[in-house]
Amino acid sequence: MTGAARRDGWVGYAFVGPFLLVYAAILIVPLLMGLWISLNNADLFGRREWVGLANYAQALGDPVLGQAFANTLTLTLLIVPPLTVIALLLALALNRATRLAAILRGVFFSSLVLSVTIVTLIWRFILTPDAGLVAVGLGALGRAPVPFLSDPAYVIPALAVTTLWWSLGFPIMLFLAGLQQVPHDIYEAAALDGAGRWTVFRRITLPSIRRTLLLVVMLQTAAQLQIFGQAQLLTGGGPGGASRTIVLYIFEVSFGRWELGYATAIAELLFGMILAVTLLQYWLVIRHEEQRA
């Protein structure tokens, strides 16, 4: 390499260096530390005792973790597909230049800026059987209130609805961005090709926003597999663990029971699961795309 090129290389590293350092310190180092801690019987205050893979063995045989895993999986399946579909439909409907569309875009995005505490507070008011909004509505129809937050059959759907309401904004924005990058003239060409609205949607719009769809699904899956705030604040993981999610369990084990080693092992398992799921999604979609010329 010539002197100038080498200098350029140095400058490049100097620009990227600070960020890489922070990234390594905040993400990579704790990841590796966590791996190490998970191989120990560790408590929150510094005691460590090497146990090898015993924490992982315990995790795989823990029925409470199994229940948390099932809950989390159910929640993710209940949230991600409807969220994607609804966000896409809303983005299609709001992808206009009218004033009303602009106002509605702001409205749908606004729930995202609320913190999880406010969101769960709002939904508690809506869902509680004691004079909550839904209960009052059911009462007006002459029906008994439904205990959304305390009946094992209803808690997971209740969490799903709360999360859906909260999370709509970001996927809508992503879809809007993707839709607006589709060149307008191919819709005109499709119109001249006699394509009806459903055909246009299925064969023009969807394939054009394929990558955006993938992004939304990947991000949301990773996010919903880690649901924590809604479960802790709305139902406390109850009743009887019916709405306990994996991250809530990790929180309880680490900060409630002080079993840091076990909690870290569960966290590593969760990390592996999220990694596997998102890579699988990526591979499934990208393998159909050919190289560009």
Partner: protein, 436 residues
Amino acid sequence: MRKRALAFGFAGVLLAGCQPADERPEIVVQRFFGECGAVYGASTDVAGAETECGILTTLINRFAAENPDIRVKVNVVAWPGYPQLAAQIAAGDPPDLVTMHQSVIADYSSRGLIEPVEPLLAEANIDPAAFTPAARAGVEKEGRLYAMPWDTIGRLFHVNTALMAEAGLMREGRPVLPNSPEELLAQARQFKQRTGKPYLIQAQVSAPDFMVAFLYTYLLAQGQPIFPDARHVRLDTPEARRVVALMRQLNAEGLTTRNQDFPAATAAFTQGRGGIFPVGTWMLGPYDAEAARRSSALHGHYAVAPFPRLWGSPAPFVDGHAWVVPAASRSRAERAAMARFLGFLARYNYDWSRTGQLPAFAAVLATPEFQALPHREDIAALARTGRQLPGYVERQSAVQGLIGEELEAAITGTKPVDAALRDAERRVNRLYAQMM
């Protein structure tokens, strides 16, 4: 030239913004009991404050006002605040004084995470002999005192006497309370039949402490050692099954409210939607204030009694609040400030007892003001006879959560009683086995 002048000017403005360093010692006080700044703000009127939150807020405000040479920083945490505290200690940045339940002290003391308070008590001129027996027992672990006790919490039946009268369960102005599980069910059914409302109001959602207290009370009453040693719990016993079966029966027959969390249950009692709210001494003050209002459903119809004897002997289960000092190195000035704070709190123990909790200082029990507080003669004995869990029992907060979860499943009928108790025992024992 202009640029330089601007730069100097800007620097000057920045420097002018610097304040002289604050040399006062700072104490960080961390507490639960709720956030009521909207009502009490900066008020220092302790005598006029109501409820745990109000009295404590005004107390701390008053201390800060009377001691301008100490900087007081208050952290309000959501009940019970133990995850936060654990994180703060693990991070090496704990507060100076923290409210803690006496049942939980053993966890922290056994690991050296909190320090013995005898030096601070001595500096504050507080004699441990002044504590009530129950309070003293709650803070003494392995011969050392690890906290300044603040109160004793007893479990009480809060009674709506108007509804009880309607149900035919009043005699000579006192509510008729059952002496056995069968009597309880019979009276509960009678109540429901005559008034159409549930006999009991209970918080069963997100309130594990509620149900666990009920269980502990009646296990202790039957003389069953719940925690035979530091590493085991025994719940899969006929005594426990009896208690849980009773709770399950009450739910199944609709003799109690269901699906309510703690705020909902508290409000339900105020609105007269049930006969008895079995909760604790801390609601005594607020409900008394409520009953004083003419328009309230409880006006003139409010009574309290300790949990009735249903099995074995009457053995009231108590806990208590206390102020602990997380272990950390502190300057002389800070320690002196902390001692002054503890001394201040000790002087206002009577005001704290206006909440309904029993005072930790025996002298307060004897004062005419305390005895003039409504209903106190019904419950004062708790301070003497109340029993806690054995001092070696650790991880109470986590254990309570586990047992509470299984109890909830058993009581609502999701799980059979035996299975729930077995699972609770298994899970707690596993927790203890993991403990280092």
